[in-house]
Symmetry: C2
Subunit: 149 residues, 2 copies
């Protein structure tokens, strides 16, 4: 289901999606995508400011908003932390998060396929009962990471 392969493939996919949204794959956007890929976990605006000092804050927000609208990145909101961003699920595969309540660290994890399947089926039923149109779901596990426990 997910689009995986070399980094070159991924940049091509990103470029195509931006094209479909009438947008260009410029240096600033490429820098942010490369950062998200190399990080391998959700990244905050602060991380981006640290690692990409040449990209101003307003541009970073704009890029991320545009990339989100084009279905390339996704927002991750921890409990009361600031927003983080990661590559969209269809570029990386469906997964969930371990969120450390102490340091804010985010670790990606994947449920066993059978459990994920049951959850998805249950969500379909619950949503149907409320006439709710479900687009996606997120399962976040809150606790303390190995460093903070």
């Amino acid at each position: 289901m997910s689009v995986q392969g070399t980094a070159g493939d991924l940049h091509g996919v990103v470029e195509n999606r931006l094209r479909q949204a009438d947008q260009r794959y410029t240096a600033g956007r490429r820098a942010i995508i490369s950062l998200l890929v190399s990080a391998g976990h959700p990244v905050s605006i602060g991380d981006i400011a640290d690692r990409l000092p040449g990209v101003p804050r307003s541009s970073a927000y704009r890029h991320l908003t545009d990339l989100e609208a084009a279905g390339i990145v996704r927002r991750v909101t921890a409990n009361d932390e600031f927003t983080r961003f990661e590559l969209a699920e269809d570029l990386t595969g469906h997964h969930h998060h371990l969120l450390c309540l102490s340091c804010g660290k985010v670790i990606d994890v994947t449920l066993p396929a059978a459990v994920e399947h049951d959850v998805t089926a249950a969500i379909g039923q619950l949503a149907g009962a409320e006439s709710f149109q479900a687009h996606s779901h997120r399962l976040d596990i809150l606790g303390l990471c190995a460093d903070c426990r």
Copy 2:
């Protein structure tokens, strides 16, 4: 597992928990708890300001922070919306949320017990593999409510 019963029981439980945290169950806090109980769904600061005009914003935040620290209320963060608050799970029972991406509405739902059990077991395994100490989990279903779809 959940502490349920009459409203009187609940206020007693709240009072005891505050006592254990060396805090009093004062009029402002009681007003907020009553609002959370009567609302029956997560409530935003804006809702509190509307329904409890006598409670200033700074006091409302302080009360909610204190109540959260005492394990009486819980924060619910929608995708990029502002924070909402609800009674802690052990006062209302474990449940999950349908979050409307358009209007921000939150609907409480409960997974079938068998699915919930499998999810909890899977979380235990995933957390263990990462040396992560899991305290709780949240499953949010994102989409459009009946009014917005």
